[in-house]
Amino acid sequence: MKDIRSLHGRAMEFMRIAKQDLENRDKEGYLRNTKAAFDLEQEAAYALLSKFESEPTRSVLFRSAANLAYNLGQYDQSEKLIYQALAGAPHAEIKAELLSLKESIELAYGLELSTNDITEYTYINVIKEHAVNLKVEPKTDRYSKAVVVDSIVDFLKNIQISYKNFAEVHFRKSFGSHDYSDFDRVLASFKKDSNLLMVDLKFQSFGVALVADTSIMNYKFDSSQKFTDFKSTIFEGFKKDVLFPDLNSEKFQQEIAQKYNETERSKIYSTIVNSLDNKSEYRVSISDRDFKFKVRDLPTINKKTLSFLKPKVTKFEEEEKELLIKRTMELTDVEGSKKTKLQTEFLSYAEFSINLANVKHKELDVEIYFSEPYNLKIIFQENTFSIDDRFFDIYVENQDFKDVQKSYELALGEKHLFLSSKDELTTDEKNIFDNMNSSFLTS
């Protein structure tokens, strides 16, 4: 007679190792150990095939094996195991999980997902464990529960900027030029990696699960213990200081006043409060993991809180002056001869698009010629112009529009030289080098 519990225990051990492989981005190890787990779990489940009285164990083992088969891309096998589980008498929760897995299989068939796709989705499931689920709902019922796209875009932009600024504030508090001789470059690299990811969506009265990947794909530039300890606290700190507290509470405000000065508070909270003040067209709430019920509302902030979280910061002479983009709109004819000024506005955020045909930098020994004009987006935000090019993995910042382009060109040339002279490239480096070779020639 098979020792089902022992089989299952060994399967669980392989699953734990596979999960670690996933966090270490070891795909081969992940698939190998998942397969080992699957073989054992399937054997344990089938040992209970005819033992319908063995609930919940029977359906749990079949569900577990079905899930492992799904992660391996073996959809037929996974479906068979689900039906075996349903043939018994699974408890309501297990039945719901089985049916949910069946839906995922149908989606995988529809999207023709490969094992690699499933592995990537499993990565999302790993980081999703730390996500916060938020719902954005309209304040009026003009469109019933449907929320206007502009509201979603506005909220996502506000929370993204708030998180990036939170991460930067904490980085500056924790590190200085004594930690990094090239502090500005390291800070730029840190800011580039400080992004919130959407790891789940619910389209009915829009729900989104947001998380920051602070350990698997990002922040690879420093492996010291100090930085490792620091980065593991960033996203949790953001949830604790920005999303979870009652921002109107006096006790909270006293704590925050101790923690952050006015400049830091303004940086962290000034965008997110725009989503939470009474003029906002939508409201935000924290939801449970399945977006089924509301945990609580993010409160509408009052005037006192607004002036506390978004104080008017007095800038001293030696600090940088605030820069803005001035946009003037004029009514004119095609030749541009008759002009009537309509409006001038000052923007703290703007996007520009430029096309690069070739790169010729005085500090570079090579020239770069693009096979077709290469489009780049330059973003102006918080006094700074930045280029975040994911295709060539280059991030630069500068307070001058022309200088940020020059910085980019220099970084592109230097990166190409570095990669072309390196003996062995990592997988990511090879992808970037392939992108370069398919986009431009050098001389």
Partner: protein, 170 residues
């Protein structure tokens, strides 16, 4: 811990115990502090420890608070139910563990060793927006079956600043 949860290794048991000590000392509690248990039973339990834990490996508050809640919940499970803690639930929402009978128990069935779920939630310090009651409601809402086919489950919510635990059968 290793004498209470016999199905985990000594290393695992030490890991949970250390997280518990860290979470309590993080809230300035000392050995001998009282844990107020409410829910299906009301009792004051004295928490005692003698180990001095090196804190440098325990930086992330959320992690050690969760693990501490698990450790305390395991003790409560052994104290207030017939079950032992078998393993972590690898699939499912929240932090769940499977419970089952010890092999020496008269109800033990080698073909049906998973009997109930233990759903655990840990809070470092209650705030107006994050209370034991709200966590209990959240856990209780997660599965509602009106036809009696719901899985047997226990909910345990542990708070560390004024140590208390709410432990009920769902």
């Amino acid at each position: 811990m290793k004498d209470t949860i016999t199905l985990f290794s000594v290393t695992q048991a030490d890991f949970w115990s250390e997280n518990c000590i860290v979470a309590l000392e993080h809230n300035t509690h000392k050995s001998g502090c009282i844990l107020k248990v409410t829910g299906d039973q009301t009792e004051d339990i004295e928490l005692k420890w003698s180990k001095s834990v090196v804190k440098s490996g325990y930086k992330e508050e959320k992690k050690f608070v969760e693990k501490s809640a698990e450790a305390i919940s395991f003790f409560l499970c052994r104290k207030y139910t017939e079950y032992n803690v078998i393993e972590e639930s690898c699939i499912g929402t929240g932090v769940d563990y499977w419970l089952g009978y010890d092999e020496t128990h008269q109800s033990y069935d080698p073909n049906n060793f998973l009997s109930a779920r233990l759903e655990i939630s840990g809070i470092n310090s209650e705030t107006s927006g994050n209370t034991v009651n709200s966590r209990v409601k959240e856990k209780a809402k997660q599965t509602k079956s009106s036809d009696g086919t719901a899985l047997p489950a226990y909910i345990s919510v542990v708070e560390h600043s004024n140590p208390k635990a709410y432990f009920i059968k769902k």
